[in-house]
Symmetry: C2
Subunit: 254 residues, 2 copies
């Protein structure tokens, strides 16, 4: 039987609403996703979906919800729970995946290391691009915007459910990748090589990209095998970090 | 002498504020830009800057303002004029550039044709990328989000002042480019060729990209010389249009 909530004062509504804060997400290990496409992707890729919240009058019988609880809410309650301007009428409460181990001896093995990217749209788009190009895991270093921010999740277009995304210390990661003979390419504007000179179709590599304004932390750049750049032919000072990531990943993957 | 405005009711303040609407921008041929970097870029690249509005206490003597009028306003007035969360204390009223003619017989000649892109962040980033890769002009077809939307302008990072951006009918454009023997590449998912099979380092080409959800209009795709796609190796359904544009432009430019 489907439960129904009509009151904005309901304690479960208040609890769900709190999941819009990073603090509450980290405390509970839960996060919200919104919209039919994301909910379907979460269910399809075996993310643990704890609850599904549907706006009254919404048709969702085509979604295979498995064992998730479904609660119907009024339009007013749904408005409290959404952080989008045009809510799609369906929200799910999901469990953050457990940290997973990446087998560093495998081949091919392709990783993206992200240092201190601040914009949720950029982070989400970089995850979507990583998924498209067949990256095996994305490593989020210190200072990155929260993966479970609503805007980040929307920008991934569901790719956060397709590939492992791991929080980690990038110094430790680069050390370990180097020990495993995985080539680490940093991105930098000086002391760097035109990316087109670097061979395409690499089987085992990690690309390291960084902050929108300041690029990759200089200490990390000293640890890489090689640093590369994308030439600027016009008057722009730089490329957006998610664009640069797309160009470089497609080049390295080949 | 610098004028000063303290009242939110001042008629000039009301007039400036109206420039946040597309209707008023089109009526007056004026638009707002915000932040030191954009104002400097506008001045440097000979955009007509009609007025500069500075928040009281802001230091801007390092900016070469030329002949623009400067008005100082209170913090409260500045808040009314900004559409960002953390205003930078300087806004300029600029004149939209006059339509310019592109010499289609020149070589190299590289163009980006944009069909119906809706997201201001995507459009702005595509203009920034076009600038970086040395595109000669960007053609905005029907249905594109407004170039002078605040979010679009911010995402260009000033590149809208660096290269010609022309509104036009894409059917007419493709016809004319074809007559001039400029190769037009459409982007499509079916009946298309892997972009890596298309030679890099093209001297005269136009790339045609399209809407976030629906891609390029099918009638336009029928008119191109060739349609190309970027392979998806993972589980993502597609790439973000601005990412795809970056990968393809850097490939074609070579």
């Amino acid at each position: 039987m489907i439960k129904r909530i009509e009151s904005a004062q309901n304690s479960r509504v208040k609890q769900w609403k709190k999941l819009h804060t990073k603090k509450e997400r980290e405390k509970t290990g839960l996060f919200l996703i919104e919209g039919r496409h994301l909910v379907e992707e979460a269910l399809k890729y075996k993310t643990v979906v704890k609850e599904i919240i549907v706006r009254e009058g919404e048709e969702f019988s085509a979604i295979n919800i498995g064992e998730a609880n479904v609660t119907e809410v009024t339009k007013e309650v749904m408005k409290l729970l959404t952080d989008t301007e045009t809510p799609q009428g369906i929200i799910a409460v999901c469990e953050m995946p457990k940290p997973c181990k990446i087998e560093l001896s495998s081949s091919p093995l392709r990783l993206l290391l992200i240092d201190n990217v601040q914009d949720p749209g950029n982070l989400g788009t970089m995850i979507r691009t990583s998924d498209a190009v067949g990256i095996d895991a994305v490593i989020l270093g210190d200072g990155c915007v929260d993966l479970y921010n609503g805007k980040t999740i929307r920008s991934t277009q569901g790719s956060l459910f397709h590939i492992p995304i791991i929080k980690g210390n990038l110094t430790t990661w680069i050390d370990e990748l180097t020990r495993e003979n995985i080539k680490v390419f940093g991105t930098a504007l000086d002391n760097a090589r035109d990316y087109k000179e670097v061979p395409s179709q690499q089987q085992r590599f990690a690309l390291l990209v960084g902050n929108e304004g300041n690029g990759v932390n200089r200490e990390l750049l000293k640890m890489t095998d090689e640093n590369i750049y994308i030439p600027i032919f016009g008057e722009a000072e730089s490329l957006n970090v998610s664009i640069a990531t797309g160009i470089l990943l497609y080049h390295l993957r080949g």
